[in-house]
């Protein structure tokens, strides 16, 4: 029981809590060794766990910022040396070891664990060369899983573009060190495969100590590499032993430069190779064409020699065929028959004429008297016709005809002469006048010479 004079104003809980924190302040930069248990990641990336030995147990926390800096993430059952300070959280009333660094207590033990992992993977055939994926001969895009800062990414890009100026590069920035590194790397590997932007993956880091390369010896990263559909090339520097990641990778390169030259061919080499093929193709084509041209020329020369003969033979055959055709043609057949008939008709006519001529001649020679008689008759007829003509003339000229037209004839009655002029008669001479019909006896009364 407190006496009144001794009575103090009581602390508030907060005041006491603050007092406790003050008291604990010397417990800073402490190193404590213990086994990890109850490891879990809380909101905001903080890790909560307990550190214990056989007797005691201490709550511990690894804040996200520190978790990124630590070389390794504590795992349950492992013994680590933790560096940090002790702090009291008034809100929860709990005392906690604020861890800012984690170191392996026993690297030998860790190596033993690593060997055990390797043995398991080996049994699974994870390292077998037959399992390894072949790198694409010519990718179009290369994925780089590495720290976005530093020389590694720069060297990789330099190498890739120097070899292949139009190569695509996609960078997946990851934490290559620290507690979050294994998860970060394995997530990036999965995203690479899911997104399919690249045809090959390079996982790179600029070397480091065994502890610094811890992430690449974790099963989680090894499994992510094994599970990758895309081929994976590791380039983890040349300052340490091979990591499990190197062993399960499809190609293991030491440096970023080596990795770059493994994933990307030298474009200039490929182009030179294609040019060489093109030259061979051109040469082959030219030679072949030359050879064929020569062959053709030889053949042409031979053709020129044999052509006239061939043409002659063909012309003959053609003519023959035409003749055959003509003979067989119905029109031609009719025409030919007509011609034959005409020919026969000509011959017949000729023969007939000749025959008749001959016959006539023969007849003529045999019938000469007839001819004479006919000639005479002919002559008679002619003469008859002349006579008739003459008679007609005579009739026309006869006095009767003239008298009929109105003329008259005066005849001297005594002399009986036709008086043609007045002077041939005289007054009182007796005359007879003949008319067309009848006669008149008259005496001349007047003479007018």
């Amino acid at each position: 029981m407190l006496k009144p004079e001794e009575a103090q104003r009581p602390y508030t809980v907060t005041e006491l809590a603050n007092e406790i924190r003050r008291e604990l302040r010397p417990l800073t930069a402490m190193l404590v060794k213990g086994e990890v248990t109850g490891m879990k990641q809380g909101a905001g990336g903080h890790y909560n766990f307990s550190i214990r030995d056989g007797v005691s147990r201490l709550d511990a926390v690894l804040f996200a910022d520190d978790a990124r800096r630590v070389t390794t993430l504590p795992e349950d059952g492992q013994v680590f040396i933790f560096r940090g300070r002790v702090d009291f959280f008034g809100k929860t009333g709990r005392l906690s070891f604020i861890t800012d660094q984690v170191e392996f207590d026993d690297v030998g033990k860790l190596r033993a664990r690593l060997e055990e992992l390797k043995r398991r993977l080996e049994l699974e055939g994870a390292f077998a060369t037959g399992r390894k994926r072949r790198l694409p001969f010519l990718p179009q895009v290369v994925a780089l899983i590495t720290s976005p800062t530093g020389a590694v990414i720069h060297d990789l890009q330099e190498t890739i573009w120097e070899r292949y100026p139009n190569m695509g590069v996609v960078v997946y920035p990851v934490q290559v060190q620290g507690a979050a590194a294994p998860m970060s790397i394995s997530r990036a590997l999965r995203r690479c495969n899911e997104e399919g932007l690249a045809q090959v993956i390079v996982v790179a880091r600029g070397g480091g100590s065994f502890e610094e390369l811890y992430a690449f010896n974790t099963e989680i990263v090894a499994r992510a590499i094994l599970g990758s559909r895309l081929p994976v090339v590791t380039a983890l520097g040349h300052t340490s032993d091979r990591t499990v990641a190197d062993m399960v990778a499809d190609v293991e390169a030491r440096t970023p430069t080596e990795a770059g030259s493994r994933v990307v061919p030298k474009k200039a080499d490929l182009m030179a190779l294609l040019r060489e093929r093109e030259r061979r193709l051109d040469r082959e084509t030219n030679q072949r064409l030359l050879r064929e041209t020569e062959k053709l020329q030889t053949k042409r020369a031979r053709l020129v020699q044999v052509l006239p003969a061939m043409v002659r033979v063909r012309v003959d055959r053609l003519a023959h065929a035409a003749a055959n055709l003509a003979r067989l043609s119905p029109v031609q057949q009719v025409a030919r028959r007509e011609e034959v008939l005409r020919e026969r008709a000509r011959r017949l006519a000729a023969a007939g004429t000749a025959r008749m001529t001959r016959a006539r001649n023969a007849l003529a020679s045999r019938r000469a008297p007839d001819r004479l008689e006919r000639a005479l008759l002919e002559r008679f007829a002619t003469e008859q016709r002349r006579l008739d003509h003459l008679r007609q003339q005579l009739v026309a000229f006869s006095p009767e005809a003239v008298l009929a037209r109105g003329y008259s004839i005066t005849i001297d009655a005594e002399s009986g002469r036709v008086v043609r002029s007045a002077a041939e008669t005289a007054v009182d001479r007796k005359v007879r006048i003949r008319l067309a019909t009848g006669r008149l006896g008259a005496r001349v009364e007047q003479v007018e010479p």
Binding site: G45, P136, F137, L138, P139, Q140, V141, P148, Q157, W161, Y164, P165, N166, M167, G168, V169, V170, V171, Y172, P173, V174, S184, R187, A188, R191, E195, L197, K267, L270, M271, L273, L274, R277, E278, R280, L281, E284, T285, R288, E292
Partner: protein, 64 residues
């Protein structure tokens, strides 16, 4: 057929054609055909070399 070929496959085809051409056992028609095909493969190879597009893309981790 040549659309699906990679650079490497097209180069292999090209070399096959070159070999038969250089062996010289082909008839003129077959040889000319082989030359045409070889040229197609040569073109595919060249196209594949130029198909890549220089770029750099950064795919940051999605924040949780």
């Amino acid at each position: 057929m040549s659309d699906q070929l990679t650079y490497e496959q097209a180069l292999e085809k090209l070399d096959e054609k070159l070999k038969v051409l250089e062996d010289g056992d082909l008839s003129l028609e077959d040889a000319l055909k082989a030359v045409d095909e070889a040229r197609v493969y040569l073109k595919v190879c060249t196209e594949r070399l130029e198909a890549a597009r220089k770029k750099i893309e950064v795919r940051p981790e999605p924040t949780e």
